[in-house]
């Protein structure tokens, strides 16, 4: 069975460009604005939508995404409401792939089988769960694959050639290459090293490789889109969102326009990348 994720990466590949993967936190800054934001992403140029599942203790995230999760939780966001958000999006768009990204505890507490059935039913296509390495595949990865969802794994600069096969086994949809050792929203990567890493990984897999961490604008996105199959942008969108809020962290008239403007700018960078390189 071909998933929306596989279809979308194939389409972008056919167009000779990288896919733009955007990350926003479910319920940030409030559930209604969050839905409007996510609905506006495809038109602005997002090819794949990652939605963060808010968690109190996001160990691999920097201050921007930590704060986004806490803003969402403060408005009453939960895993159940995140699934509702996807359902509402799907009523409006049945093609753009949706990946839920977060940490294992809320899923574990909800119940893995229950969560997977619900996720499939509302139209989730894939999962990225940061604190589940291949060593813990029995927990969620294998049941998710069985339920027909993609399980997208992170590979990092510490994943050497010996370990890479272990990371690639049971990964599906795409591989998410983390460009730096660090947390989200931190340093800008050394692009030459990232290109080398992507080439190294491509020797071992046919999966599309999306690169994230450190993508801030059209220029940084284009640098990665020149050789990767996908570019992930998250913290930069969330910073823009945050800057559009009022002093009580409530959405303003500028919020949606500010985020979609940055998505459009980055989407243009991604689309120009290989033409510029030719």
């Amino acid at each position: 069975m071909t998933t929306r994720i596989e279809t979308r990466f194939a389409k972008c590949h056919a167009e000779g460009r990288a896919a733009l993967v955007t990350f926003l936190m479910a319920g940030d800054p409030d559930p209604a604005t969050s839905l409007e934001l996510i609905k506006s992403l495809p038109k602005a140029g997002a090819d794949v939508i990652e939605i963060g599942m808010p968690f109190t203790d996001p160990m691999a995230d920097g201050p921007s995404i930590q704060a986004a999760g806490l803003r969402a939780l403060a408005t009453g966001m939960s895993l159940a409401k995140t699934l509702d958000l996807v359902r509402a999006f799907r009523a409006h768009d049945n093609e753009t792939p949706i990946v839920l990204m977060g940490y294992f505890n809320p899923i574990y507490v909800r119940g893995v089988d229950k969560f997977l059935a619900e996720a499939k039913e509302v139209g989730v296509d894939g999962l990225i769960v940061v604190d589940l390495p291949p060593e813990e595949d029995d927990e969620l990865c294998l049941p998710a694959l069985k339920a027909g969802l993609n399980f997208i794994r992170l590979a990092t600069p510490t994943t050497d050639d010996n370990r890479l096969p272990k990371v690639l086994t049971n990964t599906s949809g795409f591989l998410y290459y983390v460009s730096i050792t660090g947390i989200t929203g931190a340093a800008t990567p050394d692009y030459s090293k990232v290109a080398g890493a992507v080439a190294r990984i491509k020797k071992q897999t046919q999966l599309p490789i999306a690169v994230g961490f450190g993508v801030k604008n059209a220029q940084t996105a284009a640098a990665i889109a020149a050789y990767a199959d996908g570019v992930v942008v998250g913290s930069a969108l969330i910073d823009t969102l945050k800057n559009s809020l009022d002093d009580k962290n409530a959405a303003t008239g500028k919020t949606i326009a500010a985020v979609t403007a940055l998505v459009s700018e980055i989407a243009a960078g991604v689309r120009q990348a290989r033409k510029a390189a030719e």
Partner: protein
């Protein structure tokens, strides 16, 4: 070393770091190769006599071990039941049991060629111990400490600074121990090449829970021969306070297979277990979940969001517990109870007045439980309580609660 016995409680964890349902390695991929490297290095060190010799030398000449096993005569008389002994780990260099584990990990870090040490700390005792060992070996030391804890444990903050450590006050979340641990993990993900994460309790991803337990087991091992020397037999019960649970597992582990020895862990009940956000008793008020690299009992809401615990004691103010304790509770080998802030404060004063020993707020929880249990036991019942830290660091907190004394 003894070979693993069938039906032994002392053989865990399995090769994937599981104690029954609990434990495991729930970390980001960036850290996974580091954790596997650490596991390998520890497995090598464990069977290297030179490693054990070096650690034993430090325990004796630097820490001052063995710590005494002391008969608390007046407290025994006052409570009128069991014969109470104190395991005096508060007399260790740096004032708590934390140094036992830190020296083990720092020796391991040196073997691994790591030059930069990071640690999280709650009460500051683990931070002080880590700063101490780093000073001794000339290693860079960065300690993450919740901003709330920086405020309530000022004496330890000054000590760490004097020892040359850099203190990073953590402003995220509830700004206590769990947030300090998040921030330390973020540092480790960022500085993978040269950094060793020295975890202070018997929790976190495998191999930390087993490794910290092994380094702390010197407490129980000493109690075993000391009690034999003093009374000619095994103790009848052991009592220890539990935050993450490193002093308790260190005391209990050598006795897990001695069925006659009753084991009691005492969690922090804060304002009382009836207040969901007012205590830090994850076994009494939590359920199984995944945080900080392991599955264990956690304080959380129905959505799996972690609840900020509360305890007067910064060292027990953590919403989780080491995975081996979670397992020992489920199989029923250890009995877990709790003591409130007020009960701990009362026990602290009683200990000061009866024995001339100022215990830290953490073991005051264990002492509170002893003051309830001891009167119910016969006079020939030998009860050992681990006084795992001294109270100097807590004098301002205690003074505030007791009205300035």
């Amino acid at each position: 070393m003894s070979t693993p016995l069938q039906n032994s409680f002392r053989t865990g964890p399995d090769e994937r770091g599981h104690f029954g349902l609990f434990g495991g390695r729930f970390v980001a991929e960036t850290l996974m190769p580091l954790i596997l490297e650490l596991e390998k290095a520890y497995e090598h060190a464990k069977v290297d006599p030179a490693f054990h010799d070096e650690l034993a030398y430090l325990a004796k000449h630097y820490v001052g071990r063995p710590s005494p096993l002391y008969f608390a005569e007046r407290l025994t008389e006052k409570l009128g039941g069991a014969k109470i002994y104190f395991k005096r780990d508060e007399l260790n260099h740096t004032g708590a049991h934390k140094i036992n584990n830190v020296l083990g990990q720092i020796l391991l870090a040196r073997r691994m060629g790591k030059k930069r040490i990071i640690a999280e700390t709650g009460a500051g005792q683990h931070g002080v111990a880590t700063a101490t060992a780093c000073a001794k070996y000339g290693l860079e030391c960065v300690v993450y400490m919740g901003a709330v804890d920086v405020e309530r444990q000022k004496p330890n903050v000054f000590r760490m600074k004097m020892l040359g450590a850099k203190i990073v006050p953590v402003q995220s979340g509830a700004r206590t121990l769990k947030d300090a641990m998040n921030e330390a993990l973020r540092d480790w993900v960022t500085n993978v090449a040269d950094t060793f994460y020295c975890i202070g309790t018997a929790a976190g991803p495998h191999p930390y829970p087993a490794m910290v337990r092994d380094f702390q087991s010197i407490i129980g091992t000493e109690v075993r021969w000391q009690m034999d020397e003093m009374e000619g037999r095994l103790p009848d019960s052991l009592v220890a306070c539990i935050g993450g649970g490193s002093n308790a597992i260190g005391l209990f582990h050598p006795f897990l297979d001695d069925k006659s020895v009753e084991l009691y862990g005492v969690e922090a009940a804060g304002h009382g277990l009836a207040y969901p956000e007012g205590h830090a008793a994850s076994l009494a008020g939590g359920k199984p979940g995944v945080l900080h690299g392991n599955r264990t009992y956690l304080l959380m809401n129905d959505d799996g969001q972690i609840i900020e615990g509360h305890s007067i004691s910064a060292g027990l103010d953590y919403p989780g517990i080491g995975p081996e304790h979670a397992w020992l509770r489920d199989i029923g080998r250890v009995t877990y109870s709790s003591a409130t802030d007020k009960e701990a404060l009362d026990a602290l004063q009683l200990c000061c007045q009866m024995e001339g020993i100022i215990p830290a707020l953490e073991p005051s929880h264990a002492l509170a439980f002893v003051s309830k249990l001891a009167p119910k036991k016969p006079k020939d019942h030998l009860m050992v309580v681990n006084v795992c830290g001294r109270g100097d660091k807590d004098i301002f907190t205690v003074a505030e609660h007791l009205g300035g004394m």
